[in-house]
């Protein structure tokens, strides 16, 4: 039997994961609803004043995005671990790192991308000026894939554990802080009408670093979890 090439296998896996994602639409919607709920909590906990919300808005959008991406990690590898699919992937002739990268991309398409699309709505609720909108979307579009890639390492490390939830957050959040800093700073700078290429370039650089090294670490971690 002829084995499919890397691209064919990757494409098949991508389509499968997206289909699976949309068949469990409730599970998929949870992190998004969580994102909106967390963002709603801040005006209630602080004050609904326009100036204050404008000031803390970019930070809140980023913290909410970070938390909801950690929450979404639980669905990344767990079901494949439980039903044995992951073992078949590890045994397949395709490199495991490549398959995990495809899975992470699919995961981002169903959980990260809707968040990027939803963000301008939250920005509006926090009275962010319209000119900062495109920068915020751009920074989220560059930052959330990195969050998914770092998160995939954390999810892979805890995939074999029965209760990984809080542990994943403890592993992933400290490593995600640079993205939070640069992402919120880009939006801040845009609100003041300043140049935002610096932080956006850095976000892109970190994304490519995570894109190149993250799947290798995740594959090593999955092999440990499968033992």
């Amino acid at each position: 039997m002829q084995t499919p090439g890397m691209l064919d296998a990757g494409w098949a896996l991508l389509v499968r994961d997206i289909k699976l994602g949309y068949r469990r639409i409730g599970e998929l919607a949870n992190p998004l609803v969580f994102f909106l709920v967390v963002a709603t909590l801040f005006p209630l906990a602080t004050s609904p004043e326009r100036e204050l919300l404008m000031e803390i808005g970019p930070g809140i959008v980023w913290v909410a995005a970070l938390l909801s991406s950690v929450l979404a990690l639980d669905t990344l590898y767990r079901s494949d671990m439980d039903d044995g699919t992951m073992e078949q992937m590890a045994l397949s002739p395709q490199p495991l790192a490549w398959l995990l990268l495809v899975k992470t991309v699919a995961h981002w398409l169903v959980s990260g991308l809707p968040l990027v699309i939803l963000a301008p709505l939250v920005a509006q609720a926090f009275f962010l000026p319209a000119e900062a909108g495109p920068t915020m979307v751009a920074s989220l579009a560059l930052g959330t894939p990195t969050l998914s890639l770092i998160g995939s390492i954390g999810a892979a490390l805890t995939a074999g554990l029965r209760r990984g939830g809080a542990l994943v957050a403890m592993l992933v959040l400290p490593l995600s802080m640079p993205i939070l800093i640069f992402g919120a700073r880009a939006t801040d700078l845009a609100m003041d009408g300043l140049d935002v290429t610096g932080p956006l370039n850095l976000l892109a650089a970190i994304m490519f670093l995570a894109l190149s090294l993250g799947p290798i670490a995740a594959a090593a971690a999955i092999r440990v979890s499968l033992d």
């Binding site: 400290p174 800093i181 670093l209 670490a217 090593a220």
Partner: protein, 245 residues
Amino acid sequence: MWTWFHKLSSPPHFYRLSGTMIPWFGWLAAALIIPSLYAGLALAPADYQQGDGFRIIYVHVPSAMLSLFVYMFMATAAAIGMIWRMKLAHAVAVACAPIGASFTFLALATGSIWGKPMWGTWWAWDARLTAELILLFLYLGYMGLRAAIDDTNRADRASAILALVGVVNVPIVHYSVTWWNSLHQASTLLKKGGPSIPPDMAIPLYGMILGFLCFFGAVSLTRVKREVLVREQNSKWVKDMVTSK
């Protein structure tokens, strides 16, 4: 050339070797720390701005340096354990984590005590402080992951991956927070054109740093020794050693 390496990786040999090395490191640490502490706290002149308050530097700077050094040491041991499948290296990495976390905590605590009279605040969201805090979280995450996995062999490899991912990330975290905000003074010891601190203040500081290193050597070897004993509890040499006494 590799024989010493293989010999070192054999648990009974390491157990005996560390047993002889621990007193050396311990006494050397005491011989360095006690005079340096005396010189630093009593003999060195008071700072013209901070008065006697600056003397906490003799604990703060060595523990901050060690907090980073131990992380790199731990990650190197983890990498050796991953690459050459050397169980002893994993034992070293495991033993280092709580020590590193303690140094990190000590650096944060002394910094906070120092910050109150000098900056007027216990804590500031400054780059170096935040980076050190994140380092503490990394140590805690490492120990948390180990504690969550029951099987030693799996825990070894999983935590080694985490330590290595942390190494890639530490410089990024460091620079991101540096560009984000900075209040902490720059390094006085390691900079171009020599240290900007007079010798009678600097020499006790160097003594303290070396003393802390030796202390780390003694404590980590003690912990590795114990770790080896726990891991090898079913082996023949441990049984022989216990029954022969």
